[in-house]
């Protein structure tokens, strides 16, 4: 940006609010003013705190969030020099100048110029972009014949052209395959699959691959990981004693829903109000576990009234973050500072959930593991029920076949045993049961001790209309339907929130980068029209999630190389224009699954109770009620996917935590991606990774060929899906040689290393040789490339 070099001396004019503009490579100054893009973010960040929607803290009786109020005296359209606003923001008198010095906010010269031009152009307000229903925009015409005609690509290309940029070339086949594998299934492709794909000349090969991945069970597991972050799914209650709770069938329901490609509107309705649906069955009840996922406290001495208020706020925060991309939680104590949500709106939404039976645990929730949070049901998941029915039918058939009774006996016994164990595997899960709704009052300043506030009924935020006609009390089901009703509800907004999140999942950064806030303080989308079209596409497709995934990953934009030229790195360091793909470290679950997959240990069993990997002794020492002893699983559950790992809110597994998995105490729409020493210590020293390395070493030795060279290549290929070059081979070979020498002199140490983990070390290989190769495998599992999606 050319303004970067024109920093004014301090104290004359503030320089620091290039914040908004520095972020976007667009030269907003040279384009016609767009209120939502150019002006509203400044008003919101710098002015609304005192001159916004919240009447309680409004200064000088001036509000700048509506055109009518702003034009009253602060702004005279067409003439910046007449209204107060421009005079105050440009005043030379520090005491006069807005924003006030003690607010810590300042306007930059650029922002002041924007205000001036906006006022000159009539100071028109536009409705806030996110609340305007999305509509389809014609895609720009793209002239490049090498580029695709798909509308996503046309939007991307057009914008790049305006910026004088060009898209990156398509990623090589290996990179593309790894990318789409991780993105859709959360797992790496096998070396064999990569080989087949690279030599496949079928122009439809990529499309077929995508279809295959979308049809795999692993797709649901990968997508569920994201959803479970949003809804804060965990195996423990969160507060105080952080006791275990019964909820895993809900997790499996989410995975199934993704795999079945359940329509998103149904997905929404079943979770919020499955119990209220006509023909509500067991699966719909499991889905209502959503309403029970909040944190609860089982501490002696909690006051139920206080905690019901805490729970209510927790629900509104989560519900509004997840489905509305809104921070309505901010309106708990006062009207929202930046968005038109009032405190009354907050409590009106609370009221929708006032029928959820959540008070039983105050009496029945003990310090046992798991604790009790009735209402709970004992259930089989849909797949479990299908398996049971299948087995029962088979057993019937075998029994009916009297002629071969003798021959069938063994098979019959096996099936019967399997059936018995399946039946026994029924799990308890928390569900929503509607009871007489609690009376909900507006709590003045959020104070639960204050009973003077008005009583409110369930209602959507007032500025968004009403949820239904008539006198009946609105229900959670009405709320759920409103969320996905594109005609009379807020379906367009919901679609936009999730279109943005789909994009984020497949590009690493959203079209608006604030995944949990599309409100006034959120980021205005970099590609508003593209986002609109994706939103419309989402609901017009019948809220078809797999369709959205396929649409995005088939785009040429998605398939670009992630290698950025220095110029591009400079111009667009955060990849907001998508002139390349993004490169980022894998999320925690994928780090784990990837290592296990490469090693050959990965257990792809589907669904079930949560699993416990190795964990440092004493990690739960700070817990009590009851004190906790962690016992890791000693069978093949040890190697199951990360999505099934026991989620202890207060002490999340240290491996997960080190790689930025959230505690799931609150909604997480976007994880941090850090590179910390603690994470390095995990992948170097955590027994899960050491055992994986040793198993990988065994694979290398048994499958990798006959000599060091072939084996090093095999190892490298299986870790990063490509062959090693001469330098890489040399470095790995040095390590191998050195480790061989050391371990051959220290046989005992070699034996110790290969004894790590519950998988028995191969007896066919000498300990020293296996230990040396384990070192090589550890290096391979620690490579940046191994753990990067690019």
């Amino acid at each position: 940006m050319n303004t970067r070099n024109q920093i004014k001396p301090l104290f004359s004019l503030p320089f620091w609010a290039f914040v908004l503009l520095a972020n976007l490579p667009v030269h907003a100054q040279e384009k016609p003013i767009n209120f939502n893009r150019d002006i509203r973010p400044i008003l919101s960040d710098k002015c609304f705190y005192c001159h916004g929607p919240d009447p309680e803290h409004r200064e000088a009786d001036l509000r700048l969030d509506t055109q009518e109020a702003a034009h009253d005296y602060a702004i005279v359209p067409g003439n910046p020099n007449e209204g107060d606003l421009f005079a105050r923001i440009t005043s030379a008198d520090v005491d006069e100048r807005m924003p006030p010095v003690d607010s810590g906010k300042e306007l930059s010269a650029t922002e002041i110029t924007l205000f001036k031009r906006w006022i000159e152009q009539g100071a028109e307000y536009d409705p806030f972009w996110a609340y305007v229903p999305p509509k389809r925009h014609p895609a720009p015409k793209v002239e490049n014949k090498d580029w695709s005609k798909q509308w996503i690509d046309q939007f991307i290309y057009d914008r790049l052209k305006q910026e004088g940029l060009t898209p990156s070339p398509e990623a090589d086949r290996v990179t593309l395959m790894r990318r789409v594998y991780f993105d859709i299934t959360g797992l790496p492709p096998s070396a064999e699959e990569v080989k087949q794909f690279v030599k496949n000349k079928d122009p439809q090969a990529y499309s077929k691959l995508v279809d295959r991945l979308l049809a795999s069970d692993q797709y649901g597991e990968r997508m569920a990981t994201y959803w479970l972050d949003l809804v804060r799914f965990a195996d423990t209650v969160g507060y105080h004693g952080d006791q275990d709770q019964n909820i895993t069938p809900y997790r499996d329901w989410v995975i199934d829903a993704f795999n079945d490609n359940m329509r998103f509107d149904q997905f929404t309705a079943e979770q919020l109000a499955g119990d209220l649906l006509p023909n509500s069955g067991i699966d719909q009840k499991i889905a209502t576990g959503y309403n029970r996922l909040l944190q609860t406290s089982h501490e002696g001495g909690v006051q139920p009234k206080e905690y019901l208020a805490i729970y209510a706020a927790d629900r509104v925060r989560n519900f509004s973050n997840v489905w509305m991309g809104a921070t309505i939680g901010c309106a708990q104590c006062h009207d929202h500072k930046f968005d038109p949500y009032t405190a009354k709106d907050f409590y009106s939404i609370v009221s929708f959930f006032a029928d959820v039976d959540e008070a039983q645990h105050f009496k029945k929730g003990s310090n046992s593991l798991p604790t009790a949070r009735p209402p709970e049901l004992v259930v089989h998941t849909r797949r479990e029920r299908e398996a049971i029915a299948g087995l029962e039918a088979e057993i019937e058939a075998l029994k009916a076949d009297e002629a071969s009774a003798e021959a069938n006996k063994k098979m019959l016994d096996e099936k019967q045993a399997k059936l018995n164990s399946l039946k026994k595997a029924a799990r308890k899960t928390m569900v929503t049961v509607a009871i007489e709704p609690r009376v909900i009052r507006v709590l003045p300043r959020g104070n639960w001790l204050d009973d003077t506030g008005e009583i409110v009924e369930p209602a959507i935020p007032e500025f968004m209309g009403t949820v239904k006609q008539g006198d009946d009390r609105a229900t959670r089901l009405d709320l759920a339907k409103w969320l996905t009703d594109t005609k009379n509800g807020t379906g367009g907004l919901t679609a936009r929130v999730f279109a943005n999140r789909f994009w984020y999942l497949f590009f690493g950064v959203g079209i608006s980068k604030t995944m949990d806030d599309l409100g006034g303080q959120g980021e205005v989308p970099v590609h508003p029209e593209l986002l609109d079209n994706l939103a419309v596409e989402f609901y017009e497709s019948g809220w078809d999630m797999k369709h959205m995934v396929k649409l995005i990953v088939m785009s040429k934009a998605y398939r670009q190389s992630s290698i950025a030229s220095d110029e591009l790195q400079q111009r667009d360091p955060y990849n907001r224009l998508y002139a390349r793909q993004s490169r980022f470290r894998l999320p925690a679950e994928m780090i784990r699954d990837n290592a296990l997959s490469i090693s050959g240990l990965l257990n792809l069993e589907y669904g079930g109770s949560s699993v416990k990997p190795y964990q440092p002794a004493g990690y739960y020492q700070h817990m009590n009620f009851p004190t906790r002893k962690y016992s890791h699983h000693t069978d093949t559950r040890q190697w199951r996917r990360g999505v099934y790992v026991h989620w202890q809110r207060q002490f999340l597994h240290p491996m997960m935590k080190a790689f930025d998995a959230p505690s799931r105490e609150e909604c997480t729409a976007q994880r941090t991606r850090s590179n910390t020493p603690l994470a390095a210590l995990v992948s170097l020293n955590d027994p899960t990774f050491v055992e994986a390395a040793r198993s990988f070493a065994e694979r290398i030795l048994s499958e990798g060929g006959m000599n060091d060279h072939e084996r090093l290549q095999f190892g490298f290929l299986n870790a990063v899906s490509r062959t090693a070059d001469a330098t890489e081979l040399k470095l790995l070979n040095q390590l191998l040689k050195q480790e061989r020498t050391i371990f051959s002199e220290h046989q005992k140490e070699a034996e110790k290393l290969i004894a790590i983990g519950q998988a028995k070390a191969s007896q066919e290989v000498e300990a020293t040789e296996l230990a040396a190769w384990t070192a090589v495998a550890r290096a391979l599992l620690n490579l940046n490339e191994t753990n990067t999606r690019n």
């Binding site: 914040v19 105080h240 406290s297 805490i310 901010c330 980068k513 390095a680 890489e728």
Partner: protein
């Protein structure tokens, strides 16, 4: 901030002054806004945060304290048996608690019970030049009375342990906010190159040790590298800090060097700007594998020092943790947070005060005294206290005790530019409500930040559309009266 990759953060920091940082908030600007010392003065004093990986522009003014040692007496010690002597409460012992005190107030385990006064269960004496009032449970505190600033007028907002700790640590009861140790490291960086800047240790002893969630040292929405790292007295001092069995330090080093070589080689093709951060993380990890065990090994401490603390190496006691706290402070760790779990005295208060004070009184004195004799007390801020106090009302879970109480309780601060030998604020005659110079938790936070050279109202980060800081948006005051 949570949206940024670590590279992005790094880039932000580097680029801040030239293009204004995205999402960093107003923090860094404050020193340029005419507050406190000039950038030149701060730089001349060698305290500029950017040299330690902190925010450019911090500190806002010349700091008095370089580091904080927070001694958390988890469970909530009784102010009425430590620093807040109430003769009137003694008179009222056994009588009904006047309803004028309790009506409409939050209450924990005593809900629905008859409330009666419980007089102080111990005696108090005057100590030091100014005659500070300290109970007989804390004789070693008496010896350092002239260094302590006792605050008798604390108030907090949360009456149950878990949210009360969260409130004390983050200024909010909502999960997901950064803890103070993370804030301080985020702002000022860490002077230690091979230890984390925020270290947490805990010990147990007393009544019904209350759980402490790792949320208490979470970095919240700040970058993960600012989270507190637990140091354990048994097992691996830091999780995964030990090489896998059978692997020597030289081998581990060779492995890491191989990874670095391969990463750097690959980077010639892919130009990943984040690679330096990653390599640095591995190098720091490797250094920690050496420096952490070295730190924990106190065999180089002379016997008289061990005796002074009452520490037996490796026993995981509060005494050992105090000694380790001093060693961490010496190594430039910015924020050291000790928890001693055992102060939840709903019943058997006398018995458990004997235990808790027996375990913590002398080591606390030793820590302060040791720092002082090494000339480190002047730039180390020590803060002592629980997540709340205890009721003037009787509770009897196994002998006389007290319930949770948030309207008035005591803490103390020492060193780091805080006046010693003074008492600040007071509660009412029954020790129920803070009535004089009331100090809210956020005032404590603001004062702590002030001593570190940070203006709390200028130290903000954008999260979910809000400018969030440790102190929030409610009215907050630095406690000027206690600053030396």
């Amino acid at each position: 901030m949570q949206n940024n990759s670590s590279f992005e953060n790094q880039l932000n920091r580097r680029a801040f002054l030239s293009q204004s940082g995205v999402g960093i908030g107003a923090a860094a600007l404050a020193s340029l806004m005419g507050d406190g010392a000039s950038a030149a003065e701060i730089s001349a004093a060698g305290v500029s945060a950017s040299q330690f990986g902190g925010l450019p522009g911090l500190p806002h003014h010349l700091p008095k304290a370089k580091r904080v040692i927070f001694l958390c007496m988890a469970g909530g010690p009784s102010h009425l048996e430590t620093f807040d002597y109430k003769p009137k409460l003694a008179e009222m012992d056994g009588k009904p608690m006047p309803e004028s005190f309790t009506t409409g107030q939050p209450i924990a385990q005593l809900q629905g019970q008859q409330l009666k006064c419980l007089g102080p269960l111990t005696k108090f004496k005057q100590y030091g030049e100014n005659g500070q009032t300290i109970s007989d449970y804390l004789p070693w505190h008496g010896k350092m009375a002239d260094d302590l600033c006792i605050i008798k007028s604390m108030v907090t907002e949360q009456i149950n342990h878990d949210p009360a700790h969260t409130f004390m640590n983050t200024g909010s009861a909502v999960s997901g906010r950064p803890s103070m140790g993370s804030w301080v490291n985020y702002g000022l960086g860490s002077e230690s190159e091979n230890l984390p800047g925020f270290v947490v240790m805990s010990s147990v002893g007393g009544r019904n040790p209350q759980p402490i969630a790792s949320r208490q040292w979470s970095a919240g929405f700040l970058p993960s590298r600012f989270q507190g790292v637990e140091f354990n007295s048994s097992g691996d001092p830091v999780h995964y800090v030990r090489n896998p069995q059978g692997v020597s330090r030289a081998q581990q080093q060779h492995l890491i060097e191989t990874v670095r070589g391969l990463d750097q080689h690959r980077n010639q093709t892919v130009h990943n700007p984040e690679i330096d951060t990653r390599i640095a993380a591995y190098e720091m990890a490797f250094k920690m594998q050496m420096s952490v065990p070295e730190l924990m090994d106190v065999s180089d401490e002379p016997q008289h020092v061990l005796d002074m603390y009452g520490a037996t190496p490796g026993d995981g006691s509060y005494a050992s943790n105090c000694l380790l706290a001093r060693r961490l402070a010496e190594r430039g760790v910015r924020f050291i947070h000790l928890y001693h779990r055992g102060w939840d005295h709903h019943g058997g208060l006398e018995k458990y005060m004997d235990i808790c004070c027996g375990l913590t009184d002398k080591p606390t004195w030793a820590l302060l005294t040791d720092l002082k004799q090494r000339g480190m007390l002047e730039d180390t801020l020590i803060i002592w206290g629980g997540e709340f106090g205890r009721t003037p009302m009787f509770q009897g879970k196994g002998g006389a005790g007290r319930d949770h109480h948030i309207k008035g309780f005591s803490m103390w601060m020492a060193g780091g530019g805080i006046k010693g030998g003074i008492t600040h604020g007071n509660t009412d005659e029954l020790g129920y409500s803070s009535v004089e110079n009331v100090v809210h938790v956020r005032d404590l936070h603001a004062t702590m930040l002030h001593q570190l050279g940070i203006r709390h109202d200028r130290f903000r980060v954008k999260f979910q559309g809000l400018d969030l800081g440790l102190t929030g948006v409610e009215e907050t005051h630095v406690i000027k009266d206690i600053i030396a």
